[in-house]
Every structure is written in structure tokens, then in C-alpha cells.
């Protein structure tokens, strides 16, 4: 861990633009993590992890054209991989589910849709969340995920086909972004 990168809280005073960035982006990053991991509380934790990472490297990240894209790349990777699909996590969830009222699954009312998204492959789910929740273009999604725009289009097409079949909806071609 980079001990020198997270200093005393006074350090925040020397990076006021980080505060503004955090406040303006936090809710949308939590929402993105929430639809991908399915649990709002966990999503808040993941989003905070992503912002802590951004803060550690803020001198560099603040010079990016879109620091928010960097944070989103971190959070979608966290939300779709290391946390939710580990066997041990599943066991812990089963144990906890017995003990407490179920946490709201995710923000929003159509959880069948988001559950179907979470059942997609990792990349497909990320692309769908960034397209619809964030309303991002193919190029923007490609930048966030660090993949080619053509690859994004392939993932989105496959994802829409899979979702339409799973949710018994019709498949139509989305307007080009």
C-alpha cells in the first residue's frame, strides 16, 4: 500500500478539486456499481475504494481529460469480478441473508432487468451499464473499459440479444451512438 499517498486529512485541503470531483461523481459511480453488483451497500464500499485509489494518484489523474472515466474503470472491474462471484462471498451472503432483512437489491425498480444484466458475461454487463445508465457512446465506453469501440459494439449486440431472450422482450436495433 502506498503509505505516502494518503496523508493526514489536512492534505485534503491541498487538493480542493478532488473534493469537488468526489461530490459531483460519487452518486453516479455508486449507481453504476450498484446495478453491476446488485447490492447498494456493497456498491458504496466499492465506489469509495475507487475514489480512494483516485485520491492516491490524484496528481496524475486530475490531469486526465475525464478523471471520471478512470474511476468508472476501477469500479466496474471491482463490481464485476473480485467481489460478487467468489464462492466464499456467496457463502457469507447466504449466512447473512438468514440473519437480517434483505438489503435493497439495487437502486431502481426493475431489478429483473438488472439481475439479467448481472447474469451476462462481465464485459457485456459493463457495456450495458455504461450505455444505458451513463448514456455513454461506444467511444466513451471503449475509453472507460480500455477496449476498442468495435469490441464494445460486439458486446452490446450480444448483450441485447441475450437480454431480449431472457426477459422475453423484442430485440430491436438501438439507434447508433
Amino acid at each position: 500500500m502506498e503509505a505516502a499517498s494518503v496523508q493526514d486529512s489536512e492534505h485534503l485541503g491541498r487538493a480542493p478539486d478532488f473534493d469537488g470531483f468526489f461530490r459531483s461523481e460519487y452518486r453516479r459511480v455508486v449507481a453504476l456499481a450498484s446495478v453491476l453488483c446488485g447490492r447498494t451497500g456493497v456498491a458504496e464500499e466499492l465506489a469509495q475504494d475507487a475514489f480512494v485509489s483516485a485520491y492516491r494518484h490524484w496528481d496524475r489523474i486530475s490531469r486526465y481529460d475525464d478523471p471520471g472515466a478512470w474511476v468508472r474503470r476501477v469500479v466496474v472491474n471491482l463490481a464485476t469480478s473480485a467481489l460478487r462471484r467468489r464462492s466464499r462471498e456467496v457463502r457469507a451472503l447466504a449466512r447473512l441473508a438468514r440473519r437480517r432483512p434483505p438489503e435493497p437489491a439495487a437502486l431502481g425498480v426493475d431489478d429483473d432487468f438488472w439481475q439479467a444484466v448481472r447474469d451476462l458475461s462481465r464485459r457485456q454487463a459493463q457495456c450495458v451499464a455504461l450505455r444505458y445508465l451513463e448514456d455513454r457512446t461506444d467511444d466513451e465506453i471503449a475509453e472507460v473499459l480500455g477496449i476498442a469501440p468495435a469490441t464494445v459494439r460486439v458486446h452490446l449486440h450480444a448483450a441485447r440479444s441475450a437480454l431480449a431472450a431472457r426477459l422475453a422482450e423484442t430485440l430491436d436495433e438501438e439507434e447508433p451512438s
Binding site: 478532488f18 452518486r27 462471484r85 467468489r86 466464499r88 447466504a94 431502481g108
Partner: protein, 439 residues
Amino acid sequence: MSIDQRARRAAESVRDNLDAIVIPEPGAVMQRARRRRGIGVAATALVVVAAVATFVFVRDDATPPPKIQVTGPSVPPGSSVGAWATITKASSGIGSGSSLQALSSDGSTLLLAGERPGNGEFVVMMWWSTDGAHWTEADHPTEHDSVTAIGSHDGTAIAIGAPGGPNAFVWTSHDGGRTWQETARGAVFGASVPNNRPGAAVSGVSWHDGWWIAYGGAADGYEGIWISRDAAKWTLALDSHSSGSIDGVVETTGGSLMAYGVGATASQSTLEIGWFTNDPTEWGASVPIETPGRYYLGSVTAGAELAIGTDIDTHGTATPLLRSTDGGRTWHEDASFSAAFPTAWAWTAETTAGLDVVAGTTTKSEGPKAWLQTAAGAPWTTGPPEDAPPSLPATSIPFIPPKGSLDLVAAAGNRVVFMGRAAELDRYYVFDAATNGSN
């Protein structure tokens, strides 16, 4: 409605609820990051409760054993590998309605932790058994959170309950699990649990060369390895937060220790990571562990020669068997297992009673299943041979296979015990490995 329209409406409903998300103070978030680094200091500030008990190995010979109810067909006598039996919880001493959380053995005595509902809350239960068929309730402190890990070595056993930062507890037994005393309580494994992160629990504990080694989700929501000489004072030996998870710690055939988990970013090159050491106090930096495809190590046996491969992208898919011949650094798929059991969905792997054991269910949800092998390349034996697998009552608990799964495996002598965690599963299974030299 088209899928595109539905997606846009679903997204709009999420955006409409953004105001419900409370924005924390940025300083508080950074403060938490700093606090994680201080876990090692906090873990040493323990209240130590004296826990010295005379080693008394109590045989319960005076009490006639209850008649256990064995159901289902057994493997016919003469099986070259062994025989199965099915035992109901109600008749074994465990009791119906108990969920089970941890199972351990020192080779002769089995220790079991679970929970039983009572008076509107859950009560931790501890049992011990020398035959896997008759279980006796142990004498232990009253507790309403979960014991999530048990370890035993040479007559001493410890049980760890770490479901929340300030509420962790450690119990110790010096009489083979008959009586337990509290040896640590409080922020033993960390200070706080932001947002009740579900993985925050110590998931395993083992003994190695004079050290108790506990691992899993730290009580502040991240991953760690803690070590202790006496089960009272625990020190954080590895904080994996910047690297990834710690899903297990095993001793390799070479006698060193291997910790393994999923990389924090889980890219192809860092999907599985590990730490290798001969000194539990020093773990160093993580190194990539090579696994085939998109599989991470779901469970690794002692010796680090056999593991379950679990797909990082999809929960509930078939799990190939992986083998390693270099102490766990690289893994390859055992194609014969995948070919023979293409729907195997394994949850745990153990090497015990002279057998390689894999347990879980199938992707077709055919109920509890186990696969056993005497050695790599030998024929597989499957079980339990029930005509009608159990049908669990409807449950709202996510992820639980509807007809149950096997997740806890341990052996006493040549008897291997297979259990599932779900309270709704009313039975468990034992397999008596043959001792006729066929093993």
C-alpha cells in the same frame, strides 16, 4: 416493449433514485483508508481473557449412543473404495433446523459449528463427534453471531467468530472440543465494518509450525492473514487490500505455506494471485498464479496439488478439477474429470482419509454430490447414492441450490463426513473409506 426501451426505463428509474445516496465527507472516506493501514496496531490491543484448561480427553462411553437413522441405499459390500450412508440431523444429535458453518478434524475428533434458531434469535451451537454419526453438544459461551472457522491441532482447538469488527470473538478448547472458553473479543481482526460488507468474516483457520493462521475478509471489510501463538493475541501478518482477496491458506507438499485469492482487478494476468512463504510472519508481495481459462481457485486441498476451478464470470457453472505439480504456482485442468462429470458444480475439495474428495452439487441441481478418488488417474467414485435427493423447502436465501449442496468435508479415521450449510437440508452423509489396501 423492446429490450432497448426496457433498458432505458430501467436506467431512468435508477437515476431517479440517485438522491437517495448519501454523499459521505471525502475526508471520512480517506480516513477509513488510513485506518486500514492501522489494523496491525489495533489487532495487538486485545483484552486477553485467561483460558487455561486442563487437557482432559473425555470419552463419553458411559452414555449409550442414540440410535441414528440411516436412510437411503448404501454402496453394496465389497466396494473397492468404500460405503456411503445417509444420516438425518435430527437423529444424530445435531438437531433438525440447524444451519452449519464450519467443520474441522484433527484426524480423530470432528468439531462442528452451527446455529439453531431459538426465542427469535440465532444461537451458536458447537458439537463434537468421534465417529461422525453421533454428535454431542459442547459446553461453550452463549453467542448469537456465527462461528465461521474452526481449527484443531493436537488436542487444542480454536473457533473464530468474526462477523463484525467490534464483535469478533475467539474461543479455545483444550479437551478436544468438549468445552470452550473465550480467549479474545472485540476488534480482534479489525476495527469496523463499513456498510456491513458481506465478506467480512474470518473464513478459515489452520495450524502451522507453532502458529495459528486465520485468514479471510478482515473485519473492516478487506482481506488479511492474522497469526497467533496462543489464540489470544492476533497480529495482522498480511493485508491484501491493494492486491486482492485471500480465499484460503494451505500447506504445500513441500512444507511451505501458500495463500491464494482473486486479484483486485482480476485481469487475465492477475486473475489468481498467491503468496508463498516458509515464515507465517512474512508473506511478501503477491505473485500471479497461473490457471487455465477464466478460472480462479475456488478451493485448494492441503498439499496444493488439487483444486476446484471456478469461473470468475458466472456463478453456478460447471467447475473443472485443477491439478498442480509445482506447489500451487501453476494449475492445469484434469480433463478426465471434466469429461466424466461435465455438470459437476463443486464447492470444496479436500485430501483426507487417503482420498481426494470433491463435494458440491451439479449445475442441474440434482442435490448433494461428491466425487472421490484414491489417487490421480484412479477411477472416480460418486455419491451419495440416494434414490430421491432431498427437496429443500422454498427459501428466500439467494444462491442456495434448491436441492442442497455439500460444502463441509472432514474425516475421523477412515470415515469422511459430508455436510451442507443450509438449515433446510435435513441430512448429511458419511463415507467409510475401504481399508483393504485398495486405497
